[in-house]
């Protein structure tokens, strides 16, 4: 028993001795990132950083390998980051900085989820900017954010990976991503509805043609030509009233999809975000 414990202790010590310098190195490497984001990626260039602990260990590993494969295939980092809070920063600045300071490739798409204020933000860099166009961002908002709202985090991130794969594939083929076309089911429903409407309009217009007898309410046909003689024509102002209506300002919870901005590190970013 004692012997076993001794062996275990030795292994532990040995491991620590070997690991320490590496840990120290990483700590100094991400000192800058700690200063900027207040969060340390456990591993430089990690594809999943689950600081808000939304995923199980197993889910995290599955997602990691999936995103790693997508990232290497397209040579563009696809990253998911969850945090409890973005602190005093805006979600946009936080997401941009997280990507810039954690040793990712110059091309990437990062999804940030911040639990405290229920913010989501997609930050894109390099070729990620053109891959995630406004149609793509809308798709993310529809498919991913709805899952986030329902607290199905793993599904949301899994879907995010798939979508990024699609967006990057579209870009590689030189075709910007477009909303997927009409499904056959929807088309069939629309077809039946418009068929019924067309039938109704068609037959009712045929039916209208059957009616040609109408009373004449005026005697306009019998006015003697040139007999109209207006002798007095007056206008009198009576009163006026003024009503006012408050102008409605449209506000939306989702951020803009178009355009790019420069992050604190001087890198150009795109993307967009909102609340979930």
């Amino acid at each position: 028993m004692k012997k076993r414990f001794a062996i275990l202790a030795t292994i532990l010590t040995f491991t620590l001795v070997i690991a320490l310098p590496a840990l120290a190195a990483q700590a100094s490497g991400s000192a800058e990132s700690t200063a900027v984001t207040g969060i340390i990626a456990q591993q430089s260039g990690a594809y999943v950083v689950d600081n808000a602990d939304l995923l199980t260990e197993q889910q995290e590993n599955t997602l990691k390998s999936k995103l790693a494969s997508i990232s290497s295939r397209h040579n563009c980092d696809v990253v998911v980051v969850t945090v409890q809070s973005v602190g005093s920063k805006t979600p946009e600045a936080f997401a941009d900085d997280f990507f810039d300071y954690n040793g990712y490739k110059p091309d990437g798409i990062l999804l940030l989820v911040s639990m405290q204020d229920r913010d989501w933000h997609v930050s894109t860099t390099g070729k990620g900017i053109s891959a995630v166009n406004s149609a793509a961002l809308k798709r993310i908002e529809r498919d991913v954010v709805s899952e986030l709202s329902d607290a199905r985090y793993y599904n949301a991130f899994d879907k995010f990976g798939d979508l990024c794969d699609t967006f990057l594939t579209c870009q590689a083929q030189g075709k910007p991503y477009k909303e997927s076309p009409v499904s056959a089911g929807k088309a069939a429903i629309a077809a039946i509805a418009s068929g019924l409407a067309a039938g109704g309009i068609g037959t009712s217009s045929m039916k209208r043609k059957l009616k040609s007898v109408h009373r004449k309410t005026n005697a306009g046909d019998y006015v003697r030509a040139g007999s109209l003689n207006i002798v007095s024509s007056r206008e009198m102002f009576l009163f006026k009233n003024v009503s006012r209506v408050e102008i409605q300002r449209t506000s939306s919870s989702s951020g803009g999809g178009g355009g790019t901005h420069i992050s604190s590190s001087g890198v150009s970013h795109g993307g967009g975000g909102g609340k979930f």
């Binding site: 477009k178 076309p181 009409v182 056959a184 929807k186 088309a187 069939a188 629309a190 077809a191 039946i192 418009s194 068929g195 019924l196 409407a197 067309a198 039938g199 109704g200 068609g202 037959t203 045929m206 039916k207 043609k209 059957l210 009616k211 040609s212 007898v213 109408h214 009373r215 004449k216 309410t217 005026n218 005697a219 306009g220 046909d221 019998y222 006015v223 003697r224 007999s227 109209l228 003689n229 207006i230 002798v231 007095s232 024509s233 007056r234 206008e235 009198m236 102002f237 009576l238 009163f239 006026k240 009233n241 003024v242 009503s243 006012r244 209506v245 408050e246 102008i247």
Partner: protein, 362 residues
């Protein structure tokens, strides 16, 4: 001493009072403010209103000369009681109103001699051609209406009309609004100004026609109007040869009501068309006075065809002078359902195909 003048608010109709703080009249109900002069002249304008004066001299037609009606016979329909006039040589015919045979009742007597007649300008062939054209493109019509043998039954009939000539004097008040909108950073403002508009003047009408036969539906006859009276000639019995004539059974003094309605509406419309530059206009009050009103009795040519379908009689009528053709037609429900299905299928196929094509292209 004059009684206390009380004004009504032109905006809401409530009794209005003088507001000493603003030195204006102010309505206690709707808070609208007015100048004193405005209210006074508004009141004066509306008090000027006079009732309509629609007076007529409805003497029309003349007495027949001795022997003039000798060749004319009256035929009566035993089925619907319709009486028609034809010449003595007319072959056996059927009633233009219900298609049943008519019999000679005797010599034509009584009634008035028409002042004018517009002779038939379009013959039977033209009438049939017009009927075919009328049925063309109407897909829901039951087949019986397109039957050649039945269409041959179309008949030429002189229909009695009363023609009313008159001068009209009108004094009409309208309420109009003008709208101005603008906005600042918070509100959008809409200012509506109300005006009282007055138009007075005169207009004249010639030969407003009202049919004098109770057998002829008024709406049918009004639908084939107008006739061009410049082609009318003084009445001669010779014009009746080969045609039927209907006897009037609604007098001029009874028919004038309809003419009055139409003249009043038309006068209001013509005067209203001179009120322009407002966002909305409605007639507040109108006073119309007719004078120099006279009536004439005329026969107008009409081609007539009755068709029986599912226990109802459908009448076609054509203006025998201008060729204007009208007649309501029934709908064949089976044909309607067939067309509905066909159009629905085509429409659905087109939309579905379009959606699929769009998918392929995008």
């Amino acid at each position: 001493m004059a009684g206390l003048q009380e004004y009504k608010c032109p905006c809401c109709g409530g009794a209005i009072a003088f507001d000493s703080s603003i030195q204006k009249m102010k309505c206690p109900y709707c808070d609208t403010e007015f100048e004193m002069e405005t209210l006074a002249s508004y009141d004066e304008q509306l008090n000027n209103e006079k009732p309509d004066e629609l007076s007529w001299d409805t003497t029309a037609g003349t007495e027949w000369l001795t022997g003039e009606t000798d060749g004319m016979r009256v035929y009566v329909c035993k089925s619907c009681g319709g009486e028609i006039v034809g010449d003595e040589n007319m072959a056996a015919t059927s009633c233009p109103f219900c298609n049943n045979p008519v019999v000679v009742m005797g010599n034509f007597t009584g009634g008035l001699k028409p002042d004018l007649v517009i002779p038939f300008k379009l013959d039977k062939e033209a009438a049939k051609a017009a009927l075919y054209k009328h049925l063309e493109g109407k897909r829901l019509v039951p087949k019986v209406f397109k039957d050649q043998k039945h269409i041959d039954e179309i008949k030429g009939l002189y229909v009695p009309f009363w023609l009313f000539d008159t001068d009209a004097e009108a004094d009409i008040n309208y309420r109009g609004t003008r709208v101005r909108t603008w906005s600042d950073s918070r509100y959008r403002y809409t200012e509506t100004s109300h005006y009282l508009i007055n138009r007075a003047g005169s207009i004249a009408f010639d030969a407003v026609s009202v049919d004098g036969s109770s057998k002829m539906p008024d709406d049918l006859m009004e639908s084939i109007e107008p006739y061009d009276l410049s082609q009318a000639v003084d009445f001669q019995t010779a014009y009746l040869a080969g045609y039927l004539a209907d006897k009037y059974d609604v007098g001029a003094s009874e028919s004038v009501e309809r003419a009055n309605q139409r003249i009043k509406t038309s006068t209001e419309q013509v005067f209203a068309s001179t009120v322009q530059g407002y966002a909305s206009v409605r007639t507040e009050s109108s006073s119309i006075k007719l004078y120099n009103g006279t009536a004439k009795y005329a026969l107008y040519p009409v081609w007539l065809l009755n068709t029986k379908w599912e226990d109802n009689i459908y009448t076609f009528a054509m203006n025998g002078q201008t060729g204007k053709f009208v007649g309501d037609l029934p709908m064949d429900k089976k044909a309607r359902n067939k067309w509905f299905l066909l159009i629905a299928l085509i429409g659905a196929a087109v939309v579905f195909g379009g959606a699929m094509l769009f998918n392929l292209l995008s």
